[in-house]
């Protein structure tokens, strides 16, 4: 019978070196070395995934604002009438997200990209997306 261990079982934590073991020269530290010596994957693929999510989110915000400002755009985005313009806004945003991800991943897949810089850009894009999808904002542009 398989015995299920609790998640944070003692063997998962870094073992505490006992005084007797220290006297005997026993060290438990090398266990951790194998993790740090594995080949590091560059940050490019992660940056591509994060940035494309930000671009897709901002595209959704932009489309929401555009549809709010123009009745023609609103009806053009209604790709499936029962769900209205949400189908076009979300569908186009998803296509933009996937295309951006594909392009960025191809360019960055083996590159080391500055993750903090990408995260700052994404935070700006997401802040834009959150603001543009906030009804008082896009409704202010209603014709």
């Amino acid at each position: 019978m398989r015995v299920t261990r609790p998640f944070d079982s003692a063997q998962d934590r870094e073992p505490v070196e006992r005084p007797v073991e220290r006297q005997m020269g026993v060290s438990r530290q090398p266990q951790l070395m194998t993790v740090t010596t594995k080949k590091k994957v560059p940050h490019g693929p992660a940056a591509a995934a994060i940035l494309s999510a930000g671009v897709g989110a901002f595209a959704l915000g932009g489309l929401t604002l555009w549809a709010g400002a123009s009745a023609g755009v609103m009806s053009a985005l209604a790709l499936w009438a029962p769900a209205g313009s949400l189908t076009g806004k979300s569908g186009i945003a998803v296509i933009i997200w996937l295309l951006t991800w594909m392009v960025l991943h191809t360019i960055w897949k083996n590159r080391e990209v500055s993750l903090p810089r990408v995260v700052v850009v994404v935070l700006v894009l997401l802040a834009g997306a959150y603001v543009l999808t906030f009804p008082p904002v896009f409704e202010a542009f209603h014709p």
Binding site: F7, D8, Q11, D12, R13, E14, P15, Q31, L32, T34, V35, T36, K38, K40, V41, H43, P45, A46, A49, I50, S52, A53, G56, A57, L60, G61, T64, W80, P82, A83, G84, L86, T87, K89, S90, A93, V94, W97, L115, P116, V119, L123, L126, A129, Y130, T133, F134, P135, P136, E139
Partner: protein
């Protein structure tokens, strides 16, 4: 006579099973991301943590995709349904019901309008989180920059899902899809 109509059951599955499931998984995902650090775990601990993290982020991504797709293409058309000419009982037409009452119109013009848009940010963010967890695996234990970026994305996804979920629950109270 059954307790719930087909529309109500579908909307419950959309909101509670998939939307609620995503929100419930958040704590586990966040805990694992905070916990997976080479300085405090052995190699086997990290491997186990990554296994759980892959599972929870995959489930979260799947749940949120099903939630937004079922919301947009199943529940939302019922919400938007237009009443036929001459119908005075609008209880089966939630959008029209809300718009017809000045005291309730806010729940459509603000509540539903915000919910339907902000919810769509979540699958994009969550797919990025799940992809990175699968691609980088055990490297997350030693890569603090990447781990912090993932924690931030997960929190932003949760915030958007929390807004959408809360508004969904309040809208269901104001004008249920029956």
């Amino acid at each position: 006579m059954s307790l719930f109509s087909f529309h109500e059951i579908s909307t419950l599955v959309h909101g509670i099973v998939f939307g609620g499931g995503f929100l419930l998984c958040f704590t586990g995902g966040l805990f694992l991301l905070l916990h997976i650090r080479a300085a405090s775990l052995t190699e086997s601990g990290i491997r186990r943590c990554v296994r759980y993290l892959r599972g929870v982020t995959l489930v979260m991504a799947l749940f949120v995709w099903v939630a937004v797709l079922s919301g947009t293409y199943v529940s939302y058309p019922w919400y938007r349904a237009k009443p036929p000419e001459g119908v005075t009982d609008l209880s089966h037409y939630p959008r029209s019901y809300l718009k017809a009452d000045p005291d309730l119109a806010f729940w459509h013009t603000f509540g539903m309008e915000w919910k339907e848009h902000i919810a769509w940010l979540v699958p994009l963010l969550m797919t990025a989180v799940a992809f990175i967890v699968f691609r980088y695996g055990e490297q997350l234990a030693t890569d603090d920059q990447l781990r912090r970026a993932l924690i931030l994305l997960l929190i932003l996804a949760f915030a958007a899902a929390g807004i959408a979920g809360t508004l969904g629950a309040l809208l269901t109270k104001a004008a249920p899809i029956i």
